[in-house]
């Protein structure tokens, strides 16, 4: 974990969502710290709670959701913010890019209105000044004919271009932290590469921290410093991106890596894990991965493992791979 005081510090985060009767826990335990300028990826399959975790940073949860545990931004508690402070926080400190730009940009208003609004309505920047800034950012994200684009409606732009608009809108607010929720999942691979390159360049130019939500481990490792793996509503492993392929200690992380098909593979079968990913709502007692884990022993089915140091990172596993390998070496 980084030595500097963390920009974002999440400890023991739990999120309960309202259901028809009472509430159910969607996110059980998330621990995560992010230093200024650092990029971490939150990786997991559907239902793992990665998206809810990102949204909780901006308090963008469905009505009735309850957040427990600590969630601090630059030392300040996010759940404790007043309405005014929260608006200020959203307007200038953290910006979010969503998966589906077509749904997330108002289709009835122009692209220019959308871009400028974040500065004028949220921050009181004069319109002329806001337009100037927005045009500059559009250049940066590779949209050269800014003036024409700003007059168009979202329906007239391709998905890739709209996602650049969304990123431009986030960058124009000059935030300290960028939350990116599967920003390239709906895009083609070639467009994904362009968009990720733009994000990486912009981050480097501004020293911008990023929490990147994705289901793709390789992409996560390529664009982030650290990878945090989630399963069934809990963080199960955290490690530096460089150590992903050889240093993963949690059986789930290893299984995910083994089941991801790759261009360089030969026609041998994939090592698939049996069963299906569980959502946070349906976790059993003990380790949530135990029902699918080839290494599970009795303790795994009764005791919930907590994150502890394993190799170069931390892992929530009673029998991580690293210790075993270390034992064998010893």
């Amino acid at each position: 974990m980084s030595a500097a005081a963390p920009l974002l510090d999440i400890r023991g985060l739990r999120i309960d969502l309202p259901t028809g009767a009472g509430s159910a826990t969607a996110v059980h335990r998330v621990d995560l710290a992010l230093a200024a300028g650092e990029a971490a990826a939150l990786v997991g399959e559907s239902g793992s709670g990665k998206s809810l975790t990102a949204r909780s940073v901006l308090r963008l949860l469905p009505p009735g959701a309850e957040v427990h545990g600590e969630l601090r931004f630059a030392g300040e508690s996010v759940p404790g913010m007043s309405r005014t402070r929260l608006r200020e926080f959203r307007a200038g400190e953290v910006a979010m890019v969503f998966q589906d730009p077509r749904a997330h940009i108002n289709p009835a208003r122009s692209v220019g209105d959308f871009l400028v609004e974040g500065l004028t309505a949220a921050r009181g920047v004069p319109v002329r000044e806001a337009r100037r800034r927005v045009e500059a950012v559009l250049q940066e994200v590779g949209i050269p004919d800014a003036e024409r684009r700003m007059r168009q409606r979202p329906g007239e732009l391709s998905g890739g271009l709209l996602q650049r608009v969304m990123i431009a809108a986030a960058l124009a607010a000059e935030p300290k932290l960028l939350l990116a929720d599967e920003p390239t999942t709906a895009l083609d691979v070639t467009t994904q590469e362009e968009v990720m390159a733009i994000v990486t360049e912009a981050r480097e130019a501004r020293g911008l921290a990023m929490l990147f939500i994705t289901h793709d481990l390789e992409l996560a490792a390529a664009v982030c410093d650290r990878v945090v793996v989630m399963y069934a509503g809990s963080t199960v492993e955290e490690l530096p991106s460089g150590a992903l392929h050889h240093g993963a200690a949690h059986p789930y992380t290893r299984a995910l890596l083994a089941s991801r098909p790759s261009v360089g593979d030969t026609a041998s079968g994939l090592r698939a894990i049996a069963g299906r990913p569980l959502s946070g709502f349906e976790v059993p007692a003990g380790c949530s991965f135990a029902p699918r884990c080839p290494r599970a022993r009795d303790a795994c089915r009764t005791d919930t493992p907590l994150l502890r140091a394993a190799g170069t990172g931390t892992s929530a596993c009673h029998y991580p791979h690293i210790t075993e390998e270390a034992e064998q070496r010893a």
């Binding site: 963008l60 910006a95 979010m96 589906d100 108002n106």
Partner: protein, 316 residues
Amino acid sequence: MTASFLATRLTMLVVTVLVASLGIYGAFMLAPGDPATLLVGGARKPDPAVLDRIRAEYHLDDPFFAGWWHWFSGCLHGDFGRSLVYRDSVGHLIGERAGDTFALVAYAAVLVLVLGTAIGTVAALRGGRTEALLTAATSGVMAVPTFIMSVLLIWVFAVELPWFPVYGSGTGFGGTLSHLTLPAVALAVSWVGYVAQVTRTSVRTELRGEHVETARSRGVPESVVIRRHVLRNASGPIFAVSGVGIAGLIATTAVAEQAFGIGGLGALMIDAALKQDLAVVQAVSLLFVVLFVAVNTVVDLVSAALDPRTAQGGSR
């Protein structure tokens, strides 16, 4: 809004009116018995010489399309023929009564637009108890049709609490207003409920919209979010249903006029229908259809202008 959308809607308007006129004129031929007998008012035993004169005057012996064209082109020029029952020109009968109907429908339309959208918006934005209460009230009110509401209003506000006059349409602006208040309320009430419900649903839907989430995530003040994203985007569908409501008023004004004894077009049509005076029924129903279709077309065009997605979607 594209030019082709405009052209499609206007063509649709013309086609509907043409088909409607054919249907209305054709209904006359479908009627059991001799059309000429019907024209004199059905029941009485007419003189054969009179019938022959009527046949000639109404072109009843012409081929169907010639007869229709004679009638329809006459209507286009404002010549709706003569009523043998009322012994007056149909155009004159209509002219005398159009004002009251127009005033009544306009009054009710204002009520529908203002109250319906206001109640719906307040319900959706306030949420909680207010929403539950308003939703219950509006769905209850939707089940009370004009004729029952008329009876209730007469009982409460004219008999028990004699605040409003019950019959006729009054003179002068103030007189008209007070005479038309109860009929307009009776006419508007169920549509107010309907418009309020649809408004509430579309505002609710927009409130949950992902683009609204984006605006909030950027710290845009809630009042701006509501105005620029929620209400702006909901205005298209809201306007569309309000239009359907106003068009619906045209269809049901006859009931309110009948209940409150207002001598408008609707009451004329019902009276003529009871007397089987087809010349009048045809002319008035054609007029109602034209108004109904015209209102619907205007509404479509305006909602397309408010929300470009409607027009791009093309098919309706």
